[in-house]
């Protein structure tokens, strides 16, 4: 896929998202790949908040706002309905935040993957409950401050490895992506759309409001996360993990931390410990 071949049609526009919101960008790019022939289920979260200001409907495709815990259950149901009607060409897409995926929606997601209906579940991971005021979630990384883990009481639990959790269900296809690598992300969405079964994509979307950086740096921050090893671009297919992109130049994690305010309370020793932990990591998928 090349940039010039990407669809020029805009199927998501004029949302109430913050300036520089990468979640909105992830949704725009997803719709560029899937096109008009798709149905969206969105639970409570940033995307439903910014897209459901009646009568504003920035989705140019059918979309429903679902109860927080029920995204994946709704996906199974809609997908089963389309299967019954012989409309399996329609993409059934869930677009949930990190809290709606890793904390509140994880049971429904687990059940839906187990049921095996065809759907694409996209988790836009901005690493906290952003629209309600930046509370910690299961995907907040170690060391970050949020409004529920402020200052020196920073988040002291590691980020849940959702990719491995869904992979252990025996899912046909799962991947992690980052919005700063749009072609990689779009290729993964395209791949997921062609698989006849449940698929999961987790895309890292830097949040200017929650992470504490200027809106124009959203793409740069995503790139820094990948180059510093805080985020990896992986794919899980046929029972195996593989890396889809290895950064040519590694960046020290300190540089990534300095670019945002949520890590500023970490001492140099703590940053060094995180750096050592990243350096000691093995191949993707190994524990």
């Amino acid at each position: 896929m090349k940039l010039k071949e990407v669809s020029k049609e805009e199927l998501y526009r004029c949302s109430y998202g913050c300036a520089g919101c990468a979640s909105v960008l992830a949704l725009r790019l997803t719709l560029k790949v899937l096109g008009e022939n798709s149905v969206f289920v969105v639970p409570a979260g940033c995307i439903s908040t910014v897209s459901a200001y009646y009568p504003q409907a920035p989705f140019f495709v059918p979309m429903t706002v679902m109860a927080f815990a029920a995204t994946a259950a709704a996906l199974s149901g809609i997908s089963a309905g389309f299967k019954r009607r012989g409309r399996e060409d329609i993409h059934v897409v869930g677009f949930a935040g990190d809290g709606g995926t890793a904390d509140i929606g994880i049971q429904a997601l687990s059940g839906a993957i187990d049921c095996g209906y065809k759907f694409i579940y996209i988790c836009y991971d901005n690493e906290a409950y952003m629209n309600t005021g930046i509370q910690r979630s299961g995907l907040t990384p170690y060391g970050a401050t949020t409004t529920t883990t402020p200052g020196r009481c920073f988040e002291n639990r590691p980020k849940k490895d959702m990719l491995r959790i869904v992979a252990d269900h025996g899912i046909p296809y799962a991947a992690t992506a980052c919005i700063s690598y749009p072609l990689d992300f779009m290729r993964k969405v395209e791949k997921a759309s062609k698989i006849n079964g449940p698929t999961y994509i987790q895309v890292l979307v830097p949040c200017p409001t929650g992470w504490g950086f200027a809106p124009d740096r959203a793409i740069e921050l995503g790139r820094m996360a990948v180059e510093s090893g805080m985020w990896n671009l992986l794919e899980f297919e046929n029972g195996e993990f593989h890396t889809t992109y290895t950064p040519r130049h590694k960046r020290p994690v300190a540089e990534y931390f300095e670019a945002q305010t949520r890590f500023r309370q970490l001492s140099p020793e703590q940053v060094e410990a995180i750096q050592r932990e990243i350096d000691s990591r093995g191949a993707p998928g190994s524990s």
Binding site: C14, Y16, C18, Y53, P55, P182
Partner: protein, 90 residues
């Protein structure tokens, strides 16, 4: 038919509000655009369109929230964030 459904339902693609007023600074093309389309793909709002005849990008200031990602990511630094000239739609 969709309009007859009571309750909080609106037709997909109803966008009565424009967000152009969110920011006073807007992207303006000042240098040479090499039509790499990086700004176009990275614009969260889809407010950039392609002018294939002139091989340059166009900015829709009605939908631009002025985040500045396009100016930051432009490899030739051809995009500047500036207050649009008076008389031009902002």
């Amino acid at each position: 038919m969709r309009e007859s459904i009571p309750g909080p339902v609106s037709k997909a693609g109803t966008v009565p509000t424009k967000m152009g007023s969110w920011s006073t600074i807007k992207p303006v093309l000042e240098g040479k655009c090499n039509f790499c389309l990086l700004c176009w793909i990275f614009c969260p709002e889809g407010a950039i369109s392609q002018d294939e005849a002139d091989r340059k990008v166009l900015f829709d200031h009605d939908y631009c929230k002025g985040c500045g990602i396009c100016a930051k990511e432009c490899p030739t630094k051809a995009i500047q964030m500036a207050e649009p000239e008076a008389g031009r739609a902002g």
